[in-house]
Assembly symmetry: C2
Homo-oligomer: 362 residues x 2
Amino acid sequence: MSLFRANIERMAGYVPGEQPQDSGWIKLNTNENPYPPSPAVVEAVTRAARGPLNKYPDPLGTAFRKAAATLLDVDPDWIIPTNGSDEVLTLILRAFVDSTDTVASPYPSYILYETLGELQAARFARIGLNADWSWNAEQVATAQDTAKLVLVPNPNSPSGNLWSRAELLSLVPRQGVLVLDEAYGDFADVPHRGEFLREAPAGRVIVTRSFSKSYSLAGVRLGYGVAHPDLIAGLRKVKDSYNCDTLSLAAGIAALEDQRWMLDNTAKVRTTRTRMTSALKALGFDVVPSQANFVWATHPTRSHRAIYEGLKARKILVRFMTYRDVPTAVDGVLTGLRISVGTDAEVDRMLVGMGEVVGNDE
Amino acid sequence: MSLFRANIERMAGYVPGEQPQDSGWIKLNTNENPYPPSPAVVEAVTRAARGPLNKYPDPLGTAFRKAAATLLDVDPDWIIPTNGSDEVLTLILRAFVDSTDTVASPYPSYILYETLGELQAARFARIGLNADWSWNAEQVATAQDTAKLVLVPNPNSPSGNLWSRAELLSLVPRQGVLVLDEAYGDFADVPHRGEFLREAPAGRVIVTRSFSKSYSLAGVRLGYGVAHPDLIAGLRKVKDSYNCDTLSLAAGIAALEDQRWMLDNTAKVRTTRTRMTSALKALGFDVVPSQANFVWATHPTRSHRAIYEGLKARKILVRFMTYRDVPTAVDGVLTGLRISVGTDAEVDRMLVGMGEVVGNDE
């Protein structure tokens, strides 16, 4: 007899993208920023490492909250720093969702939301996306009526498309909270800065943000939630006392204070994204116009799995995605390649490999 | 109407010890190690800060697990690194405990276990400790019969006493798991090294360990769980993909590899503990013989709250504890002071302050 909870026993567990520990890979599979973090971040971590690491960090991350609040033009009580934006998502599920509650998120989209729902033994409802990544209006209406939480990444993954504020407002559940996952928000042509929080119904929206992507700090694990202080107060009850460490908080403050570095890097990513999109199209792919640091590429005739394997044999990693039960896809199965935007050199090598792979099969 | 789960709405939330952010305090309230971490740790963090922080960490912390496994003479699959030992405790509750399950822990003891139970909306049973911190045999038997999880800190907090392996073996629940929280284990005169895992029934015990205390790394947030791989596999399903960051994993490996530094510091703490115990006794306190980096001091006639306040007015922080519903205490309320073992200089200043405070009231 297993001692685990039934829902845990049943679960396969979320599988993150491959993280090869050896060198020599072109890693375009987990949407990391190809550029290093700001030198000010390295300096801040180095300084913090020489500080009193034997003491606990500030449990509320006050200095960090001030820096993030300044950027978003909100009060620091609207901010909760977390161990990656994964943690704030986990806290949200644990704070709001019982086994009788329904969690909803778009589909195809970020699968982690379903895993987090399973961990709470909650009900889960997919809000179908049409083949062009627009919303299925009927399923939006159902989610609005029945969900306790609606989780939406904006830009969406794997497609990279951005939804409008009007579309998002229609997703706030009548008896619940909309979670807007802006992990990729800084890569949009017009990046978000918390405007949505001021338009949405008070206390019914949580925005989550990450340092992993735009700030080049995936290794540091830092994210945060932004919401009305009543919501933040509830999330604080659920978090571990010292959920963020001294080093990552120092890194986060330094990163926020060097906006120029982040803006320069996200601008470079946008430029490369445009070029990469055209080149993939020239190789015969359909590519969704992306507002994120990755693109969703599908080939009308080739096996996406074979392309993924062909690239992997060349030490180039992209993300091969399979979504089942997609009514708009052939046989209900949507596959495709989610390819992160790397440096120009990385993207060039990927495109060469891609040309060989797509060419070889012909 | 609150949108939070009923159990979250009801909760007050765990209150960690005070963490003043200004300087000049003698901080003997949260059991931090008064000595800095190993220079090898500072070096490792500095090096990691110059490394690829834009990339995600190894999701399973393989290099760290090897280092911890070597120390404890187990296979690396027995180890799960976590964001402080707080996180492994949280993962354990989330993996094993449904709302119909019972969580049990000794009382008076570490109150966090009850908070973690509340977060899962689980039933909670206290296993009463006698006035001399020995177990109430009848309540141990009940817990053994009914609990899904029994959580025991060894050494115990706030008392600092250590329980024998025989006592702990009797706490393994018939249909559940014993969690042995060894956050303070390295301060015992004969520190633990995983021996208990080899004696206990296979797959029925999880040991948790922390870098916050003996390794002087409270600021870094790193801990780990040690258990049979079947249990570790279940905990991995619950954790966030990248729960430990590159910097803390590097710090942890360097800390484990410099055992000499940790052993020297824990030896100093033990020496100071002996002296501090005698001095507090000379001031009229009852002090439990401690195997941890703190002592539990009670005064037969004075108000512990007044002593705490008197010390705080002198910028000396100790932990004032109140435990209600303690059958063995007068009026059911046990109060006392849990005082961390600082440097000799810090302890001297605390003792001077204590002398003034206890003297002043007479």
